[in-house]
């Protein structure tokens, strides 16, 4: 399968050609944030406070790594299940967030916000955390250190492997991939 490349900065313009089902190698700066970090960020937005990183054109990776061993950049870092971030994602998408990386289906509200903003939802392979960690070049905790694994980290990644699940037109690969397989079986 041919892989598309997506390189920092992640302006919306670069996302236009991505289609549901595409394999993509992502290179550049991305940010980890999951459950509690999302709750806090959305709270900070409501209060008008300065955020730990610029949301516009950013890619957020739903992940909380295992601790790094001495000499390692980061511990294993696979995606966590995305639906738990569904209540928060539309707010961030409307602020210009370009992409989210996670696993599992999203709500109607998130899909609508993806399409409305020309963003992309990617999936990484859940459970393949040691493999994925190899694509992380550097990692730095930038907010909510008290949350441990849930803290926000700035990652530099090189050829981070992901699949486009929801593209800017709203096509959903969880639906399309499964149907394509089942239709083929029925032939």
């Amino acid at each position: 399968m041919t892989e598309k490349r997506l390189e920092y900065p992640f302006e919306k313009e670069k996302l236009k050609d991505l289609k549901a089902g595409d394999s993509v190698l992502i290179t550049g700066t991305i940010y980890t944030a999951r459950d509690e970090a999302h709750r806090r960020i959305v709270e900070m937005i409501r209060r008008g406070e300065e955020l730990p990183f610029e949301i516009k054109d950013a890619i957020i990776y739903y992940a909380g790594p295992a601790p790094a061993k001495p000499g390692q950049v980061i511990g294993p870092v696979g995606p966590t299940t995305s639906y738990r971030m569904d209540p928060y994602a539309p707010v961030l998408l409307d602020l210009g967030l370009s992409g989210m990386i996670g696993k599992g289906p999203r709500s109607r509200e998130v899909k609508d916000a993806v399409v409305r903003n020309g963003a992309v939802y990617f999936a990484a392979i859940g459970g393949a955390a040691a493999l994925i960690a190899r694509s992380v070049v550097s990692a730095e905790t930038i907010a909510f250190e008290d949350l441990g694994a849930e803290a926000v980290r700035r990652l530099q990644v090189k050829d981070f492997p992901a699949t486009v699940v929801i593209d800017p037109e709203g096509n959903d690969q969880y639906y399309l991939g499964r149907n394509e397989y089942l239709n083929k079986k029925r032939e």
Binding site: M1, G75, G126, A130, L147, R178
Partner: protein, 280 residues
């Protein structure tokens, strides 16, 4: 009476916490390889190949396969002729979790309060289930459980009239509704019968059965096979992107129940299906 010092239990729990997270059980490795060979959908085959790469990398680099190194579920079978010495059994288990998760660079995922949250910092407490059994040995089983799959688990109190079909439909529907969330291919643990809590416990214990070991009762062995076939016809596939391999196995445990009821619990595990045991 044979004496076993609780420090031995601490050491066993610590060692198993690390080993189970770094090295995938051979039966699960064999089953993933078999599914990859039988997979007829290219995308699915590629993903299974990457899952196997990940298992190999973790083994070579001595790192956990998945960043979710789980909540430690510890099952103890304590022989009734054993005298445990040196302190509290519960403290000894939790000390083992603390030691294993800290020294082994495993992720600390446990929060102190389900609603008010707050990470405990050392992955304690463990979920401990203890049984008293005949003999003078202590069996220690550690099963780290990730919550991507745990969150997709379900329980339902069926009326007896629902019959085998009602039970089977419920199990298949659980996996269908879980979709891509629990990191398929999954292992499906099922508990049928007993009480509300017993069904849930059996569903989790079913995940401890070797994948290649069918249910001893032919009726349920056939049901396991039928359910696996039906689940693998759903088309969800590895990671939910389509394909045959949605589940690696379905494992059932049963217990007598009340004439008015038929509890069914489904506990889903991801492809990083972990447990290990030692006998002291």
């Amino acid at each position: 009476m044979r004496e076993v010092h609780v420090n031995q239990i601490t050491e066993a729990v610590a060692k198993l916490s690390v080993e189970t997270n770094l090295f995938l059980r051979e039966d699960v490795c064999r089953r993933i390889a078999q599914c990859r060979e039988e997979e007829d959908w290219p995308v699915a085959g590629e993903i299974l190949g990457k899952i196997e790469d990940n298992i190999r990398i973790a083994r070579e680099e001595f790192v956990p396969m998945c960043q979710d190194t789980g909540m430690a579920c510890v099952f103890l079978e304590v022989g009734q002729d054993v005298h445990l010495t040196g302190g509290s059994l519960e403290d000894a288990v939790n000390e083992g979790v603390r030691k294993g998760y800290t020294e082994g660079y495993l992720r600390k995922a446990v929060v102190a309060d389900p609603i008010r949250r707050g990470n405990t910092g050392d992955n304690t407490p463990a979920h401990i289930h203890t049984e008293i059994v005949p003999g003078d040995r202590v069996k220690v089983i550690v099963a780290p459980k990730g919550f991507g799959s745990e969150n997709m688990s379900r329980i339902r109190m069926f009326p007896p009239s629902a019959g085998a079909e009602g039970v089977k439909d419920f199990i298949v529907r659980c996996v269908d509704e879980a979709g891509a969330n629990p990191c398929p291919p999954v292992v499906v643990g099922v508990g049928i019968g007993g009480t509300f809590d017993r069904a849930a416990l059996m569903a989790k214990q079913a995940l401890l059965v070797p994948l290649e070991e069918p249910h001893p009762d032919e009726y349920y062995a056939a049901m396991e096979e039928e359910l696996l076939e039906r689940i693998n016809e759903l088309g969800i596939g590895p990671q939910g992107l389509g394909g045959r391999t949605t589940a690696l196995a379905v494992k059932i445990k049963t217990f007598p129940t009340h004439m008015a009821g038929m509890p069914v619990a489904v506990n889903i595990n991801c492809h990083v299906s972990r447990h290990g045991e030692v006998i002291l």
